[in-house]
C-alpha cells in the first residue's frame, strides 16, 4: 500500500494546561482536495502550525508521504515538499512580485544558499516563475513591490509563493477570506487549476467553496475529528450538523 500524502497519528498539543488538539487522527490521500472544517476555536490553525513545524507537538506523530516529520523545523518540512499559505497575507512586502515568487523556488531548484549564481540569468528560475505568475494572473505586476499590491492580488501572490516551492502537498489557510463573490470564484478556479498532480488541504469558512471543491471533508471540533468523508456524507451527518452547524440546523 502506498503511503498517504499526509498522516496524523493521535496528535496532541497543549498550551499550558489547555489541550487544544486532543488526539487527531487524519489520513489524507494523494492527489485529493481535502477540506478541514470546524467552528472557530476548533484548532484548525493550530493543526496547520503543528503540521508545518511552527509549534512543537505535545505527543503523536506526523507523517509526510510516509516519512516522519514530527518536530522537524519548518524549513526541513518545506524541503520535503510541503508548503502552506496563510490566512493573514504573509508575503515579502518590500520585494517585487517576481522576487517573491523566485525566492520561494530557489531551494527546490537546488540553489540553496548559493552566492555564485545570478538569479537574473538562470533559465530554470525564469521558466518556472513565468509559469507560476501566468497561472496566478500576476504577470503584469511582476515588478510592483508586493506591499503595494491590491488585496486580491496579494492573496494570489500568497498562493503563488506556496506553489513556487514545487511542493506536492499544499496546505491552504482560508484562501478566499475577505474576498468578494467574483474574486472568490476566480480563486476557486485557480485552486482547481493547481490541484492537478498535487494534494491540497484546505481550511475554509465559506461552505460554498468547501462543498464545491473538496473531495473529502474532515470536521474538527474541540481538537478532535468528529467525522470524515465525501461531501454528501458530511452534509447528511447529523452529528456534524449538530456540533458544527448548530442544533437548529439539525
Amino acid at each position: 500500500m502506498t503511503a498517504h500524502a499526509l498522516e496524523l497519528r493521535n496528535l496532541r498539543k497543549s498550551f499550558g494546561k489547555t489541550e487544544i488538539i486532543r488526539g487527531v487522527e487524519l489520513a489524507i490521500e494523494k492527489g485529493r482536495i481535502h477540506a478541514v472544517i470546524g467552528p472557530n476555536g476548533a484548532g484548525k490553525s493550530t493543526l496547520y502550525n503543528l503540521i508545518t513545524g511552527l509549534h512543537p507537538v505535545t505527543s503523536g506523530r506526523i507523517l509526510l508521504k510516509g516519512a516522519d516529520i514530527t518536530d522537524k523545523p519548518p524549513y526541513e518540512i518545506a524541503r520535503r515538499g510541503l508548503s502552506r499559505s496563510f490566512q493573514v497575507t504573509n508575503i515579502f512586502p518590500r520585494m517585487s512580485v517576481l522576487e517573491n515568487v523566485r525566492c520561494a523556488m530557489l531551494w527546490d531548484l537546488g540553489y540553496r544558499y548559493s552566492f555564485w549564481h545570478f538569479v537574473g540569468r538562470r533559465r530554470d528560475l525564469a521558466e518556472r516563475s513565468e509559469a507560476i505568475m501566468e497561472q496566478t494572473g500576476l504577470g503584469s505586476r511582476r515588478n510592483v513591490p508586493a506591499g503595494l499590491l491590491s488585496y486580491s492580488d496579494q492573496r494570489a501572490l500568497e498562493i503563488a509563493i506556496t506553489l513556487a516551492s514545487g511542493a506536492d502537498v499544499i496546505l491552504l489557510d482560508e484562501p478566499t477570506a475577505g474576498m468578494s463573490r467574483s474574486e472568490t470564484e476566480q480563486a476557486v478556479a485557480l485552486i482547481r487549476k493547481i490541484s492537478q498532480d498535487r494534494t491540497l488541504v484546505i481550511v475554509e469558512h465559506d461552505m460554498g467553496v468547501v462543498f464545491d471543491l473538496a473531495e473529502t471533508i474532515s470536521v474538527l471540533v474541540y481538537g478532535q475529528i468528529v467525522a470524515s468523508g465525501p461531501p454528501a456524507e458530511i452534509r447528511a451527518n447529523t452529528a456534524v450538523r449538530e456540533a458544527y452547524l448548530g442544533p437548529e440546523a439539525a
Binding site: R79, R94, F118
Partner: protein, 421 residues
C-alpha cells in the same frame, strides 16, 4: 549579470572618476580624506549587508574591521622584520577579509539565532567585550597605544613601495571598486535574495525551505569578510591600528553613515560614507557643534526618511522614468519647501553656534563671527536675529511642506495610473 551589464556605464564612469580624482585633489590632506572615503565605502557597504539587506542592526560590526586591521598590522610588521613569509602588500586586504571571516563565522553563529533587538544587544555585548580585550591582551592589541606599522615592507614589485599616499590611494580605489562590484553582484544571487527575504518576513522564509539562522549567519559572515577587508585597508592607510577601531564608537559611525546615506538602496551607504567622511574631515574643523548636527540629522532621517538621503532622491526615480515633464508643477512647491528648510536651518544653526560659543569661550571677549559676519554674542541682536530667522523658517516650513507633499503625491498618482494602463 544582466543588471551588471546594463549598468556597465556607471561602473566605467566610476573607474574614470576614481582615476581622475587625485589629479584634482592632490594635497596630502585631500588624498587622506579620499583614502578614508574608500575604506569607509567598503565598510559601509559591508555593514549594509546586515542592516539594509538582512535587517540586522549591529552595534558591534567594527569588531571585524578592527581585528582585521590589527592582524594586518602584525602581518606587515612580520614581513618587515622578516619573521613572516612575504605576502604582497597589495593582497593584504584579502588577508584582512579572511580574518574578518574567521571571527565572523563563530560570532555570527551565536548571535544570528535572534534578529531585532536581541541581535543588537548581543552585538553590543561583543563590542564591549572586544574593547575590554584590547586593554587586557597587550601582546596582540598593545593597549591604548595600538599597533604601529610601516606599509613600506618587503620587496617592491614594479617599483610600488606604498610609501607615497598616492600609491595607497590607487590600492584602496582598486579594492574599493572590486569590493563594491562584488557586493553589488551578491545582491543578485540566491543568497542576496534570501537575505532580503529574511529581512522582510523571516516567518514565511522558513516555509519556502530556508533556515533563517543559516541565511543570517551567511550574511553575517560575508559582511564580516568585507568589513575585515576595509579594516586591512584602514591599517595600510593610517599605518596604525588603535583600540578605538574595534569599539562601539566606530560601529556607531558606520551605522550613522549607512542610515543617513540610506540603507534601502545599494548606493545609499556609498553616498553616506562619502558625505559623512567629507563632513567629518572638514566640518569638524569649522564648528565644534558638528557632532550635534550629525546626531540631529540622524534622528531626523530615522523619523522622516527611512530611506535616508539617497531614499529622498530615489523616491523621485519613477517620476523621472515616466515623464520628466511631471516635475514641472513640482518645481515651485519644492523650491518653497527647500528654501524654507534652509532658512529654518540657518536660523537654528546660528542659535546653536551662539550657544556653543558662549558655552565654550575661554576669554572675556564675546566677539565672534557668524556666517562670516562679526557679531557680539553678548548683545541681544544676533540672538534675536537668529531666533527670528529660525521662527520664520519654521513657520514657512509648516506652510510649505503640505503643498510640497501634495505635488509629489499628484505626480506619483499619475505615474501609478500610467503603470496600471
Amino acid at each position: 549579470m544582466a543588471g551588471l551589464a546594463r549598468r556597465s556605464g556607471i561602473w566605467l564612469a566610476a573607474v574614470a572618476v576614481v582615476l581622475v580624482l587625485p589629479w584634482i585633489f592632490s594635497s596630502g590632506f585631500a588624498i587622506t580624506t579620499l583614502n578614508q572615503m574608500g575604506v569607509l565605502i567598503i565598510f559601509s557597504l559591508a555593514y549594509n549587508m546586515l542592516l539594509g539587506q538582512g535587517g540586522m542592526l549591529s552595534f558591534g560590526h567594527a569588531v571585524y574591521f578592527g581585528l582585521a586591521g590589527y592582524s594586518v598590522a602584525h602581518v606587515l610588521n612580520g614581513i618587515g622584520a622578516g619573521t613572516l613569509p612575504y605576502v604582497p602588500v597589495s593582497l593584504l586586504p584579502l588577508v584582512g577579509g579572511l580574518v574578518g571571516l574567521l571571527f565572523g563565522i563563530p560570532i555570527g553563529f551565536v548571535s544570528t539565532r535572534r534578529a531585532g533587538t536581541v541581535f543588537a544587544m548581543i552585538s553590543l555585548g561583543f563590542a564591549e567585550m572586544m574593547t575590554a580585550l584590547t586593554l587586557i591582551l597587550i601582546v596582540f592589541f598593545n593597549g591604548e597605544e595600538g599597533v604601529q606599522t610601516d606599509r613600506w615592507a618587503g620587496p617592491e614589485p614594479f617599483g610600488i613601495t606604498y610609501g607615497p599616499d598616492i600609491q595607497v590611494y590607487y590600492l584602496i580605489a582598486a579594492w574599493c571598486l572590486l569590493a563594491t562590484l562584488a557586493m553589488y553582484a551578491l545582491t543578485h544571487t540566491p543568497f542576496g535574495r534570501m537575505s532580503n527575504a529574511v529581512r522582510d518576513n523571516p516567518e514565511r522564509l522558513q516555509f519556502v525551505g530556508y533556515s533563517t539562522h543559516r541565511v543570517r549567519w551567511l550574511a553575517f559572515a560575508l559582511s564580516s569578510f568585507f568589513a575585515g577587508m576595509a579594516g586591512a585597508l584602514h591599517a595600510l592607510n593610517v599605518e596604525h591600528v588603535g583600540f578605538e577601531t574595534v569599539g562601539v564608537g566606530q560601529s556607531g559611525l558606520v551605522l550613522f553613515m549607512v542610515w543617513i546615506g540610506g540603507a534601502r538602496a545599494f548606493i545609499g551607504p556609498i553616498f553616506g560614507a562619502v558625505v559623512i567622511a567629507f563632513l567629518n574631515s572638514n566640518l569638524s574643523g569649522i564648528t565644534e557643534a558638528w557632532l550635534l548636527y550629525l546626531g540631529i540629522l540622524f534622528m531626523v532621517t530615522v523619523m522622516f526618511a527611512q530611506g535616508g538621503l539617497s531614499g529622498l532622491i530615489l523616491m523621485h526615480e519613477s517620476i523621472w522614468k515616466t515623464d520628466v515633464r511631471l516635475f514641472r508643477p513640482m518645481v515651485r512647491p519644492y523650491a518653497l519647501g527647500i528654501g524654507a528648510t534652509i532658512v529654518a536651518c540657518l536660523g537654528a544653526i546660528g542659535l546653536i553656534e551662539l550657544i556653543y560659543f558662549m558655552s565654550t569661550r575661554s576669554t572675556r571677549d564675546t566677539g565672534t563671527s557668524l556666517y562670516s559676519v562679526p557679531v557680539d554674542a553678548a548683545s541681544l541682536l544676533p540672538w534675536l536675529v537668529c531666533a527670528g530667522v529660525a521662527a520664520l523658517g519654521a513657520e514657512a516650513c509648516r506652510r510649505a511642506y503640505r503643498p510640497m507633499a501634495a505635488s509629489y503625491a499628484d505626480a506619483i498618482e499619475t505615474v501609478k495610473a500610467g503603470a496600471a494602463r
